[in-house]
């Protein structure tokens, strides 16, 4: 990861899309790139993917990243409900409902992000890093590339209803997947010619038994359709190469299934290996030119 970016005449980017704990598949992808000696010139992350993008940009090794994943996504996080949030839904007139609403107490997440990234800023990353979030008021994509990592990451993973939006530089930000779940466009704008794009489909509910589950179903539908539409556009519009890496999971993986991490990493490795000949061909063709 420390290779001189000028060595390769083509700029290689990795984009890691939203996919909660499934984003740990990026560790598998990293293993493969490392083994093959392929260096990245920039890393882009969205939502859960931004955590892995940050780790890679900082040059953390695979065991460290896997360890962070296990410590970050634990059941404890979902157990800490914000009771005031429920009261605010039921009695908005009494408890004052506003845009800073979130169902889970986010202090624990913030603590854990701090434990993983401390006061590190974007400027300290070894590989340029871009984190995607969404402006909660306008719905536009916001690209974060300076300041403290914890703030950007907290904004990028601010799943509506679950976590409160995060204020960064005066803008109220929510999860990046609301504007583009796999923000290949950022890598294109930053001048990447070869883009490895790791994306994930949102899972559908097997049974709907409550209003929140119904909402999650609708949100998955729209996220997947947004993912497909953006990806179709970028692939058609981009004059160079976008290599999709979409791991297939045969086991069902829920939001906080951290015990499945070894399996997730394996599927990430497998998905990257399947595209490796193509990636090599692109990189070789470039150096010959």
């Amino acid at each position: 990861m420390t290779d001189d970016p000028n060595q390769n005449p083509k700029r290689v980017a990795l984009v890691i899309g939203s996919g909660s704990v499934k984003c740990a598949a990026a560790i598998g992808l990293q293993n493969v790139l490392h083994r093959e000696g392929i260096a990245l010139d920039l890393v882009v992350g969205c939502s859960g993917g931004s955590l892995y993008a940050a780790c890679m940009a900082l040059g953390y090794d695979a065991p460290t990243i896997a360890d962070m994943t296990r410590r970050l996504w634990t059941r404890e996080i979902t157990r800490r409900r914000s009771y005031s949030a429920w009261l605010r839904i039921l009695l908005p007139g009494v408890f004052g409902f506003d845009e800073t609403f979130g169902l889970l107490d986010d202090r624990l997440v913030m603590e854990r992000l701090r434990a993983a990234f401390g006061e590190t800023t974007f400027a300290q990353a070894k590989t340029p890093l871009y984190v995607a979030a969404t402006d909660f008021m306008t719905g536009d994509q916001v690209v974060l590339s300076r300041g403290r990592l914890v703030d950007a990451l907290r904004a990028s993973i601010a799943m509506p209803y679950i976590f409160k939006p995060q204020r960064v530089n005066g803008q109220l930000l929510v999860d990046g997947y609301l504007s583009d779940p796999l923000p290949v466009g950022i890598a294109i704008k930053e001048g990447a010619n070869v883009i490895v794009a790791m994306g994930f489909e949102s899972p559908y509910q097997s049974r709907i038994t409550s209003l929140p589950r119904f909402s999650f179903q609708i949100s998955s539908i729209m996220t997947n359709n947004l993912f497909k539409a953006n990806f179709a556009f970028h692939t058609l519009a981009h004059h160079s190469e976008v290599i999709p890496v979409v791991p297939e999971f045969h086991e069902r993986i829920r939001l906080f299934d951290t015990d499945k991490i070894p399996y997730i990493i394996e599927e990430g490795e497998r998905a990257m290996e399947a595209q490796l000949p193509y990636l090599h061909r692109l990189l070789e063709a470039t150096t010959a030119r």
Binding site: E99, G139, D180, T209, L211, F214, S215, Q217, I218, F233
Partner: protein, 282 residues
């Protein structure tokens, strides 16, 4: 229908009451004697797509609009939301917070037992498969069923079953389904789309819900529209009415203004449309 020139489609996207702007577009086309070869509708746009395909005149369609958006359309939303959040009300994949009886009554009044094969112009309506998230194009059967499915705003109205598929609002898959017209062989495509409003203040769960939906749908609209423009080898003419006033859902006095803005948007693109139709003539 028009062997002399390339086929012309009108696609009316999702936009609740603003979809009435389609009547303004239709007025212009009628005045200019420009015939449509197909109509595509999604969500609120389905109502007008169906009316145009059936050949309803403008005043019938205006009456339909006024009787559709009445106050009781959303009755019970707030109390049922509380009941559903607290668990008192069971909520399944077949649930909605609002009783759909007033909606069904209005749809029956407007379209009765009419079917797709009775339209004067081919009609295609778009819904979303609730279980798989895929876009579903409806082109046969009863119009009331297809429109009910296409307008099924999630959480507000229950999904609607057609041929064993549970369907919800077409906007969740594609708010302005230009691709349906492309696949059906349209060459020139008039696409009437609407940006959904963003709220400045979010003071209730409902407001947050609506706002998040707007964000999604607007981003979905931009992404799909950008793709269609790039992919379609012929012409997609954008009609984006400019609403410089706040248009709220149940303010029926705004309908003349909405229709006028649709008319204006169509008039602006008229010279271009004329040129396309003429130059492409055999």
């Amino acid at each position: 229908m028009n062997a002399q020139r390339p086929s012309l489609a009108l696609v009316i996207g999702s936009g609740s009451v603003k979809c009435a702007a389609a009547l303004g577009v239709w007025k212009v086309l009628q005045n200019e004697n420009i015939k449509l070869d197909m109509v595509v509708g999604c969500s609120g746009g389905s109502l007008y797509a169906a009316a145009i395909a059936l050949g309803y005149d403008i005043s019938t369609s205006e009456t339909m609009t006024l009787s559709f958006w009445t106050g009781d359309l959303m009755a019970g939303y707030a109390s049922n939301l509380r009941a559903a959040m607290s668990g008192e009300m069971e909520f399944t994949e077949r649930s909605g917070l609002v009783d759909d009886a007033p909606l069904m009554k209005a749809l029956h009044q407007a379209f009765g037992e009419r079917r797709f094969d009775q339209t004067l112009i081919p009609l295609h309506l778009v819904a979303t498969d609730f279980r798989s998230g895929e876009k579903v194009v409806l082109s046969q059967g009863k119009l009331v069923d297809a429109i009910r499915a296409s307008v099924a705003i999630p959480i507000v109205w229950s999904p609607w079953e057609i041929d064993g598929r549970l369907l919800t609002d077409g906007a969740a898959a594609d708010p302005l389904p230009v691709d349906v017209a492309i696949k059906e062989g349209a060459y020139i495509i008039l696409s009437l789309g609407f940006d959904l409003p963003h709220r400045a203040r979010l003071r209730s769960f409902n407001a947050v819900q609506t706002h998040l939906n707007s964000i999604y749908i607007n981003n979905l609209l931009r992404a799909t529209y950008a793709f269609y423009n790039l992919a379609h080898h012929a012409e997609i003419i954008p009609l984006w009415p400019n609403f410089d006033r706040n248009v709220s859902t149940f303010d029926t006095q705004q309908f003349p203004y909405i229709i006028e803005q649709g008319q204006r948007a169509a008039e602006e693109q008229l010279p271009y449309l004329r040129r396309l139709l003429e130059t492409a003539e055999v």
